[in-house]
Amino acid sequence: MPVFDPETRRAPEAPAKESAITDIPAASSALEIEGLTLSYGEATALKGLTLRIPRQRVTAFIGPSGCGKSTLLRALNRLHDLNETVHRQGTIVLEGEEIHAPGIEVAELRRRVGMVFQAPNPFPMSIYENVAFGLRLQGGLKRRQRDEVIEWALSSAALWDEVKDRLHDSAWSLSGGQQQRLVIARTLAVQPEVLLLDEPASALDPISTLKIEELIRNLKSRLTLVLVTHNMQQAARVSDYTAYLHGGELVEYAPTDQLFTNPRLAQTENYITGRMT
């Protein structure tokens, strides 16, 4: 028995168009995307993607501008519904349920699959009201219960200690990094199962960036995180799995450790190491 076996160190050989990581079983995946094709009018942004996103892990999508990574992320909580030019084929299954099935309410889907954008977008109201917003929409909580959830959400977003004495100040009085964590707290307050992060730290200074990354690490014990980033070191630092997309196709999808030390394909290697292709 050879001590070292390339098969155990590498992703199994797959055709050039990689479909999925085979070691993520359906049972441990939060999202199963199958044959997802998405086009904006004439332009096809995603070309038949099939992949599984593991539960309670951080999965990063990397790739050059226009590769479809943000489009894919937005598809996961049906943000494209508002755009009539978008056409979709294929399925996205969240914990066993097709998210486009007739019985699915979009508002409820977006509670379960929260999203944080590149620029912090707190609402023009107090810190407290920002986090309370979703809870008030849902209703049913007494004031004391609501206060508890808000403290929990702000603590989970690693912001509580910084804002506990100024909860009724305007959210705009916070720094950019704090605002981004406030937005994450607002999303967490409604107890999502999946958190989508679209370049969550690209507008932040290095220290705020590290706080967001630390937060991402801590949150994965509770929920599934999907991160889109242009910053490859960030993907390498925080994610468990990395998917490299190019031209709307999934090029390589592998455990992050492997993708950043020994990618299987030259195309991936060239992208992550900054080579000319």
Partner: protein, 242 residues
């Protein structure tokens, strides 16, 4: 993905290409110096040239300085470039390789020291044939390992890995015959012990050359075959283009 010796010169950043190229060039310079150290240390013994032996011992400082210099360059690349994939493997392989080359330098120095003792004692040349033979063998291993590094040549690296077994058995049989000499003539024990130290140093040099070859495989294939015996290597998989 397999890489070639051109892989590291295709970055968008030309400065980065240059930095990685420098690492390889300096490593090869260090390798060349170390190889000369072995050759001269052994020549000093065989020719009874104590001045050459002294020179080898002095040159060890140059080897050490090169190790520090190359390590600094690697640290700088790690800190400033955060290399990934084959770039990262190159930097790691170079750091590991300098450490083995430095140890080979130390072994050459040891050979020179024992050569000085033997030249001073001046009695006989028992075991010198074995020293010459094994030294040529391990120098070839070292040269091949360095060539494999320069050319990213997996086949040559694997040949070096296999060669180490042959050196080990030559070493064992040389030791056995020296042991017989000592039993036959107890007065020769002191000088034969010095020859044994030299053989031991040469055998260690073979081990370090073997390590260098393993780093080449790590660099090219991304597979760590340290602590894997040559019989257990799946060569077909190593040689296949992945």
């Amino acid at each position: 993905m397999d890489i070639t010796s051109d892989t590291h010169s295709q970055h968008i950043s030309k400065q980065f290409n240059h930095e990685l190229e420098e690492l390889k060039t300096h490593l090869m310079a260090m390798g060349g110096l170390v190889e000369r150290q072995i050759q001269e240390a052994v020549a000093a013994l065989l020719d009874g040239d104590s001045r050459l032996a002294e020179q080898v011992r002095d040159n060890d400082k140059a080897v050490n300085n090169l190790q520090i210099k190359i390590d600094e360059e690697c640290t700088r690349v790690l800190a400033r470039r955060q290399p990934a994939a084959s770039d990262l493997r190159l930097v790691l392989a170079v750091i590991r390789a300098t450490s083995d080359l430095e140890r080979i330098g130390d072994e050459a120095s040891k050979i020179a020291r024992n050569a000085l003792t033997l030249i001073e004692a001046g009695n006989g040349n028992k075991g010198f044939v074995e020293v010459r033979h094994i030294s040529e063998h391990v120098r070839k291993m070292l040269r091949d390992a360095l060539t494999a590094f320069a050319r990213f040549d997996i086949d040559l690296a694997l040949a070096v890995v296999h060669e180490d077994d042959a050196v080990d058995s030559e070493y064992t049989s040389a030791m056995r015959s020296l042991m017989t000499f000592m039993m036959e003539d107890p007065r020769s024990i002191t000088s034969i012990l010095s020859v044994m130290w030299i053989l031991r140093a040469l055998e260690r040099i073979g081990d370090h050359a073997d390590n260098l070859a393993e780093y080449v495989i790590y660099l090219v294939k991304g597979l760590d075959i340290r602590h894997t015996s040559p019989e257990d290597l799946d060569e077909a998989a190593l040689k296949s283009k992945g």
